[in-house]
């Protein structure tokens, strides 16, 4: 095992030298910087805010010119008001050019007709936004009440002033910030899945370039498999840290702090969560990379790699969706299963820890199962790798590869 450091170092160097790796890292970093700069980019193109522009046509002045007040309520809309009775053609032109939607009010006996005109209603799932209906109903009521000469005290007595509070009876109810959980699950999936895949690519490349025979007479198979896993894992971890650092810098310098706090509740990130997420990343990565080492050992041509990796890809996607299910249904019994099963626990447990739904005993059990499975898979992967390194012909099935490993005991 004294050569482990040498193989790891060489693997890191090889990974960092790859143009595809440099390019994909740069693209990811650019996407992160751009994502945090969306408000700034939109303002560069003349859009002051992300609010939808709504033109309110009130030819009968039903709102007594009070619609302007809605602009102060942060409803996600910027209202322009006109009392001019625009024709259908004029409205159509506005909606198709500089306005997102148009609302036209007309009174017919005691009924106020509200026409919501948009270019296509598909973005609103074919309905009028409830926020707009509620806001205009409320505004209209206030305008009508004000005409009745009622005192502010009387108005206050009529209008409900509910003091709303959410109380959970379950002390273990899920907590956590959805945006951060989604980011954690996506980053973990990307880091574990895509980095681990590089192990099979690296193994197949050595077979294709025929260097493998020289390599296995220079050091043992165990060192090669573990060195590659470790080297690619370190590069993956550094890549993730780089992404987090760039995201942090972009958030600090490019985003409005209020907007940032409204999206990300950073108080939900505790040291325990960070440490355990790293632990789950390491073992999750080890588990999947050894799985990919196993499948990579069965092929000798780069074009066969994706096909050979199929079963592991499928398992990883199931693992990810189990974790996603945990996030969306924190009270489901499925969470305990996804937290224990090693294919999903690296994605699921950090989310459960953040939601506060994972007990300490569940964390310990989950880690033991994950570590034992990883060790078992390492033993199998190394055995299969040692037995199949000289297979330069057609792709072996996993069954055949394991049979070869048994014969070569």
């Amino acid at each position: 095992m004294k050569n482990l450091g040498i193989v790891t170092g060489f693997t890191i160097k090889e990974m960092l030298r790859r143009k595809s790796f440099i390019f994909s890292t740069l693209v990811l970093l650019i996407i992160i910087v751009l994502a945090f700069n969306i408000p700034n980019i939109m303002s560069m193109f003349g859009t002051d805010s992300l609010d939808e522009k709504v033109l309110v046509i009130d030819p009968e002045n039903l709102f007594d010119g009070q619609v302007e007040y809605l602009n102060n309520m942060e409803l996600g809309y910027t209202f322009e008001i006109t009392t001019e009775n625009l024709s259908q053609e004029q409205i159509k032109q506005k909606v198709e050019n500089d306005i997102d939607a148009c609302i036209k009010f007309t009174k017919n006996d005691n009924t106020v007709k509200m026409e919501y005109i948009v270019e296509s209603a598909s973005m609103n799932f074919g309905s009028v936004p409830q926020t707009l209906i509620a806001s205009f109903t409320n505004l209209y009521s206030n305008v009508q009440i004000s005409k009745l000469n009622i005192t502010p005290e009387e108005i206050a007595a009529i209008e409900p002033q509910f003091d709303v509070e959410l109380i959970e009876t379950d002390e273990n109810a899920a907590k956590g910030n959805v945006a951060i959980m989604m980011i954690i699950s996506l980053v973990l999936f990307y880091a574990i899945f895509f980095c681990a895949q590089q192990v099979s690519v690296s193994i197949t490349t050595e077979k294709t370039s025929k260097i493998i025979e020289t390599l296995v007479t220079s050091t043992d198979s165990k060192t090669i498999v573990l060195g590659k896993t470790l080297g690619i894992g370190i590069v993956g971890l550094v890549q993730i840290i780089l992404m987090i650092v760039v995201a942090g810098i972009s958030a600090k310098f490019c985003m409005d702090p209020e907007l940032l706090n409204s999206i990300f509740d950073l108080s939900s990130i505790t040291p325990k969560l960070v440490i355990l997420t790293l632990v789950y990343f390491c073992f999750g990565y080890a588990l999947y990379s050894l799985g990919f080492a196993l499948t990579g050992s069965t092929v000798s041509k780069p074009e066969d790699v994706q096909y050979a990796n199929g079963p592991i890809n499928f398992i990883a996607v199931i693992g990810f969706y189990l974790a996603y299910f945990s996030m969306m249904n924190p009270s489901s019994n499925m969470n305990q299963i996804s937290g224990i099963v090693p294919i999903s626990s690296p994605f699921s447990m950090p989310l459960r820890i953040m939601m506060g739904t994972a007990t300490n005993s569940e964390i310990v059990t989950s880690l033991i199962v994950l570590i034992v499975t990883t060790i078992l898979l390492a033993v199998i992967a190394i055995k299969v790798y040692s037995s199949t390194i000289l297979n330069t012909g057609a792709r072996l099935s996993l069954k055949d590869a394991i049979k070869m490993a048994k014969e070569n005991k």
């Binding site: 090889e14 030298r17 370039s209 007479t217 070569n408």
Partner: protein, 296 residues
Amino acid sequence: MGLELKDVCKNFGTKEAVKHLNITIDKPGVYGLLGTNGAGKTTTIRMILGIIKKTSGTISWNGKEVKRENVNFGYMPEERGVYPKTKIYDQLMYFARLKGMKQKEANEAIDYWLKRLDMEEYRDMLAEKLSKGNQQKIQFIISVMNDPELIVLDEPFSGLDPVNTETLKKVMKELIKENKYIIMSSHQMASVEEFCTDLTILNRGTTVLQGNLAKIKNGYPSEKIEIITVENIDNIIKQAGLEIIENTDNHYLVKIKKEKQGEELFKKLAETNIRVIKFEFKKPTLNEIFIEKVGA
């Protein structure tokens, strides 16, 4: 001191790739491993180096199992391979370090061997930019740069141009002088005859011939005579009742059944005034012995 294979067998499923092989290499020099394609040469080499496991038998170096820990060996496989996207220096350093060399020692060895094989200019070049012959020389450097006691070369000269073949031959001669134990597998009989003192010929996993090359050849009777004269001697040969196999500008190859027939022809030529430049009883070549043994 030396390498010993005792009753070594290798089965792949029901197929017996190597059957009861016994080889003893107890002195430095080049040992030849010959055979047709699929005879079991590469399998034998891979078993010696522990790349694949033997089904039965023992393989030892100085009484110990052949492992990286017990033997400092170098290996140039038949399947040439390099890291295509890696600089020559980087991959040489990688293998030197894996073979246990210190950084400084490895640097010196790399410099020495690149210079020795006229490869200095390629030091910082990506391997994929090198010709196949030069990539082969890189593989040769990997196999010898750690100064191994046992060197295994699988088809070392195949694919090399005459200049590079000559360079490699010179290096091999130096390694022989340094008392290295070299196992060479080759299809090029001329190279085997040039370097190997002892050999084993395998056919379908079975040993068909083994021993000292000179003794093996001496064990065969001479069946041809090579004669070079300044005049045409067709009539004299025919009068002696012998068959001319080849005649190119009075350079004859004559078939004999017994060496005595040759001696009588020599006497007849001596009785004439024809100037004889060469008269040699020819032993069968290794190529002929090989073809006879493997039944090609």
